[in-house]
């Protein structure tokens, strides 16, 4: 992603210097002046130069919808025997599949390694399956992926694709006290995995500035239980309110940069309050390309096939199989503890001169290599939005609605002070 417009003043100064002696003389004169006067006033406030995003309806080039595979107790990393075949599960990561992919793969592959196989099978080729396959290869195993779709056509490719490792990952009570430690282990390992992909060609992983805009002073969101709502999640059911969801981000405060409120003079947006933070996200096309390239370079084999019944795992020639089937596990493994949480995204024409993310009211926009991803996340509903909804057809209306909210924000953006 091009960042050449990020510091236009620095670029200007560089251009001035390149003009030669006369310009250098001028810079010298400025320095002399600043020593006496400008420096005492401190650095002049400066708005970051941001190009407004184009958010008119004609820019909407794609809609995607997917179902987050949530398990109340957190991802299934358990094992079971199908005949003489050891199946290690690795599915049910909710809204955290991308974010936990490396750590979760490490746990599953570790279990597979304990019987000292020379080859294993992985079923499924979403982000969990493909990452698991690569992690197994890095541990020296020969790997065959059995899948009905390659990653580009899986639900993983219809996600939002940002680092949100505790997004709808589990409900506190059924996950139990021990899950936090496992979550932290998987998250920290994944973080290192993503760090190892920063700066690769095609920017599979990117850090970028994210702006949270509000008209009133921002308040930290609490997840207090609503006493009017009686009962809670029961096996096979759904959470009843937001306070049931588990949150763990406090455990990795040391990794994630702190957000800062922008002083008014540095706020480029026509709202009273703007908070800037750093977000990390994944560019699906290049990320998939890197993983697939590594998989094939290690001699990986991809077999296109579907499964209708767990007994078919026992018929594979590999006697250790890692099951990474995501939401499909609900039907294939008859795991009714998996429940759907629907999410949909709109995609605007990629705009490489506007590399930032923005949230305002229910609107969320994030510039990625393959487009600006737009979501409509009702603030009132929080993590309950989409719970129990397995309708996987996209509906552009809510996306167009938030684009309309953001349009005047983009029109009112200020340049450099």
């Amino acid at each position: 992603m091009s960042r050449q417009n990020w510091y236009p003043q620095a670029n200007l100064a560089r251009r001035e210097m390149l003009r030669g002696g006369a310009a250098l003389g001028a810079v010298g004169a400025l320095s002399a002046c600043s020593a006496g006067k400008v420096a005492s006033a401190g650095p002049a406030p400066r708005r970051p130069y941001l190009t407004p995003m184009r958010v008119t309806p004609d820019q909407l080039i794609d809609m995607k919808c997917c179902i987050r595979p949530v398990r109340a107790a957190g991802p299934n990393l358990g094992t079971q025997m199908i005949g003489d075949t050891l199946v290690v599960h690795n599915y049910g990561h909710g809204g955290s599949g991308w974010s936990l992919s490396w750590g979760s793969a490490e746990v599953a592959v570790g279990k597979a390694l304990s019987v000292l196989p020379s080859e294993i099978a992985v079923v499924g080729c979403g982000i969990i399956g493909l990452t698991t396959a690569v992690v197994a290869q890095r541990a020296g195993l020969k790997v065959t992926i059995y899948t009905r779709d390659v990653i580009q056509r899986t639900r993983s490719f219809r996600a939002h694709g940002s680092f949100t490792p505790d997004s709808r990952v589990a409900l506190s009570a059924p996950a139990g006290a021990g899950f936090g430690d496992l979550w932290e282990q998987m998250t920290r390992l994944s973080w290192k995995g993503f760090r190892s992909m920063l700066g690769l060609p095609g920017d599979p992983v990117v850090f970028q500035d994210a702006y949270a805009l509000s008209d009133a002073p921002p308040v930290k969101k609490h997840h207090d239980a609503d006493p009017a709502i009686k009962g809670a999640w029961e096996p096979g059911g759904l959470p009843l309110q937001e306070s049931e969801w588990a949150h763990f981000m406090d455990r990795i405060k040391d990794l994630v940069p702190d957000p800062v409120m922008l002083p008014t003079a540095e706020n480029p947006f026509p709202v009273a309050y703007t908070r800037r933070s750093s977000e990390m996200h994944f560019n699906f096309p290049s990320y998939a390309h890197h993983l697939l390239t590594e998989f094939y370079q290690h001699g990986g084999l991809m077999v296109m096939r579907d499964f209708n019944d767990p007994s078919q795992y026992g018929q594979l020639k590999e006697k250790v199989v890692i099951n990474a089937t995501g939401y499909a596990a609900r039907d294939l493994w008859r795991d009714k503890t998996v429940f759907p949480v629907r999410g949909q995204t709109g995609w605007l024409v990629p705009q490489h001169d506007a590399p930032y993310s923005l949230r305002y009211k229910n609107a969320s926009l994030m510039a990625k290599n393959d487009g600006i991803v737009v979501m409509n996340n009702p603030i009132d509903l929080g993590e309950m939005f989409g719970v129990g909804d397995s309708m996987e057809l996209a509906d552009p209306a809510p996306i167009l609605e938030v684009m309309k909210i953001v349009e005047p924000i983009m029109a009112g953006m200020k340049g450099i002070a």
Binding site: E106, V107, K111, G140, G193
Partner: protein, 141 residues
């Protein structure tokens, strides 16, 4: 069937090339008490690098899971010698011989190998005769 007999033949040749093992870790070669003592040693001498749950990090090897990939089919003497020689990395060679054995017991336990009635032997030749077995598929949790 043909394939199985080939494998058996290959196994026999391998066995001929290396010393035969008298026992394997599947048979219960340490006691629960040894492993519990090993857990205390681990917490003090190992956990700061390998993690409280021996989970490892991106840089430091996990001592379960991948551990079996590294040490499976080796002898307990090889593992014990390595600990004595190379660990902890910041002060190699400083583990007491008794603690070394306790750590081996603890590592076997957290990797799913069963405890037994007899403690781990202390002499080198006896440890060299015990193989770190692959787990039975049904034992993987």
């Amino acid at each position: 069937m043909k394939r199985i007999s080939k494998l058996t033949l290959a196994g026999a040749l391998t066995l001929a090339a290396v010393p035969a093992y008298a026992a394997g870790t599947a048979n219960g070669v340490y006691t629960e008490a040894q492993a519990a003592e090993g857990a205390a040693v681990f917490a003090e001498r190992c956990a700061m690098c390998h993690g409280k749950q021996a989970e490892g990090t991106w840089e430091v090897p996990a001592l379960k899971g991948k551990f079996m990939g590294n040490w499976g089919r080796e002898s307990l003497a090889a593992l014990s010698d390595y600990l004595a020689r190379a660990m902890p990395q910041f002060a190699p060679g400083t583990l007491e011989p008794k603690d070394n054995g306790r750590l081996v017991a603890y590592l076997l336990k957290i990797n799913g190998h069963p405890a037994g009635a007899k403690p781990l032997p202390e002499d080198h030749a006896a440890l060299a005769a015990i193989r770190i077995d692959p787990l039975a598929a049904t034992a993987v949790k």
